[in-house]
Subunit: 409 residues, 2 copies
């Protein structure tokens, strides 16, 4: 069953409003084993009718969002009627619902709203408890030989979401006639790239019958998406774990920082942060996780050398001799944070975010990351992330959190 | 000039990744007086070629994002070559750049990456300093009679954004042949919302002949975009400043944190941060700004009460009597940070990020923000931001940075 989504709205293409309908609907449909094959976004106005005419030729189901309001640029009702050659009539149920909506709020309905009760002949009115715009469902027979079912839905998420769940999904399920919903597993890996999968296991994975394999790479992490039968997913998972078990962060969509907080909480341990070049980003990511106060108590943002000395006890001679971006300074930062915060684990970073401050020996992007653990050895790694300032900070925070994860895994 | 955007990626339609390219590109193009007329999203695979074939018939410019990676589902290079009937060749510059990218990171390039150096004959390679995938530009003549210019760009924003700004916008400007790019002024305001403008000045602004007025609202800030003749913009600017001069943060796209760093640097002052509920976000935002090391030296992330006492000298009795989220604790945090960091200004926040920890008196979302200045009075404000945890942190950081800005403005 080919499903297309048409999102309408000038503001979506001007970029003043983020278009979130596609991602949300995609997730809802996937739960039924259905997918959106194409999403098109056009501005309000005549482009809507052209896009509809195009879509009903190809699709089995067309879902349209937006353009059901009372103003002059709200044209989806008229447009679909024109495309399918249907008359418009005033729908009694829609009108009664509209009047009730205003009455309930102690308001009188404006004349402009009356057009929201006009529907193409034969369409089902989908009630909207959260706004003035009723939705519409045009069953396949209304599109003649094209046999395309059409849903017209309101744009505001507070109206769209309940209408999809209450009215659209049950109809889609019936239309699709699907008995079995395919399973999906999303595995998140940190410290490997998409190309490592391609070299390592992609051929094996894609060779598994009944398995669809997808990747989504972000800075310093990659999601492996396995879709198919339970058996195929289990087989794919085994192959991925054979090569990259140490890099696996989560299998439930959890972020790296969520995984770190969970691991620490499960062991009753605390972590302290000592940040120079990341400037608070590592602490910020940890505290994005609900419940992080159980495992995170002290963070030091020691941007100046004096701060490294005063707050973490880094020796001034080492700062002068080796420079702030050096192995001994990273080590002393981590050990100072561990001691002063009385933590179980401490992570420290010191590097050159740029764009200035690099040298031949230590170019922009150089970073030392240290992890100290109570009663254990301190480990220090040197890395190079020659990126824009903000990307550098993100990449370093990723590497630092992953070192903590591996330390407590 | 008709511009279409094709965003590719199965994850966009499955909803596992939010599609943000359209909104960002829409804003960038608008600055040149250009608009995206249609955005289409399709999954990786053969749908990409079909969508490209469709688009080059209609559009003058086709911008494609995603699908330039090294794996088997990355097909945009091959697809556009097939659509336009072009041969693929290995590009020397692209290959050298790829090899250098890996060499710089001390890695050996995987064989799979080699395909990223294959380009359709006649295409320009757009360098990518932030990833392995070079972009491609196919000038209109390559599409034969269809006369459609095609850009193939990488998906990750950290790679896409600099490439658009450095390589794509200048070419679009040349292609559009617009002699007079309409002037634009973007005024950023913090501490007022879009509805304040609608109530206050929108009618006056939209009444100015030759002026197009747009708003872009984000959490705790709103951009007013004025496009038109120099005179119309000047008239609009005057009206906006009449009402909201104190809320104006920048007129050159500078972020709030950039404005704060500039103001401090111009006065040779330093700021220290003492954060509880924001967990390092304020320090992180300040250190996102290049040159922030001049004005920011010490940051304290005092998540636990002990940290507030040990690092900032907050009295234990006050923590016990008033609770960590209280006026006296916020005040002592700011004054302690000012003293211990020997800073000119210090900002402190303590609040309840949630989702748990609220009470009737201090519900989730409550925050106290304090600003202390050398030789001046400490100011403490209480605010309520009942939002999700991450939005709460963002809103509080926004309010805190804005208080610092007003203090040093």
């Amino acid at each position: 069953m080919r499903i297309e989504l048409l999102t309408t709205g000038t503001e979506l293409l001007l970029g003043t409003t983020q278009n979130t309908h596609g991602a949300w609907l995609g997730q809802e449909l996937f739960k039924l084993g259905l997918r959106i094959q194409r999403q098109v976004t056009v501005p309000d106005g005549p482009a809507v009718e052209a896009a509809m005419a195009d879509a009903v030729e190809e699709a089995d189901v067309l879902i349209v969002t937006g353009g059901l309001g009372p103003t002059s640029d709200d044209l989806t009702r008229e447009s679909i009627a024109a495309v399918l050659g249907l008359e418009m009539v005033e729908d009694e149920l829609a009108l009664r619902t509209l009047l009730a909506f205003f009455a309930q709020r102690g308001k009188v309905m404006a004349d402009a709203n009356r057009k929201q009760a006009m529907v193409p002949v034969g369409a089902d009115v989908l009630p909207n408890a959260n706004g003035t715009a009723p939705g519409l469902y045009l069953p396949p027979r209304l599109s003649g030989g094209r046999n395309c079912a059409v849903f017209l839905l309101p744009g505001p998420p507070s109206e769209l979401y309940p209408m999809v769940q209450g009215e659209v999904l049950p109809r889609l399920k019936a239309l699709s006639g699907l008995e079995v919903v395919p399973a999906m597993l999303e595995m998140r890996f940190v410290g490997v790239g998409e190309s490592d999968f391609h070299q390592g296991v992609d051929e094996e994975l894609t060779g598994i019958a009944g398995l669809e394999v997808g990747y989504c790479a972000r800075l310093g992490e990659v999601d492996l998406r396995l879709v198919g039968t339970e058996e195929a997913i289990a087989a794919g998972r085994e192959i991925a774990l054979r090569e990259f078990a140490a890099e696996l962060v989560s299998e439930d969509g959890a972020t790296l920082e969520e995984a770190v907080v969970r691991l620490l909480a499960a062991q009753g341990k605390t972590v302290a942060t000592a940040e120079s070049c990341t400037g608070g980003l590592i602490a910020n990511r940890i505290t994005d996780v609900s419940g992080s106060s159980e495992v995170f108590r002290y963070g030091y943002v020691t941007y100046a050398n004096e701060a490294k000395r005063d707050l973490l006890g880094v020796r001034w001679e080492d700062l002068e001799e080796h420079g702030a971006v050096s192995e001994p300074v990273a080590r002393q930062m981590a050990e100072g944070a561990l001691r002063n915060a009385d933590a179980d684990v401490a992570v420290a970073v010191t590097g050159i975010a740029g764009p200035t401050g690099g040298s031949k020996e230590k170019p922009v992007g150089t970073v030392f990351i240290a992890v100290a653990v109570k009663g254990g050895e301190t480990r220090v790694v040197r890395q190079l992330h020659p990126r824009s300032r903000v990307s550098f900070k993100r990449a370093v925070s990723q590497a630092a959190l992953d070192l903590v994860r591996r330390e407590v895994a």
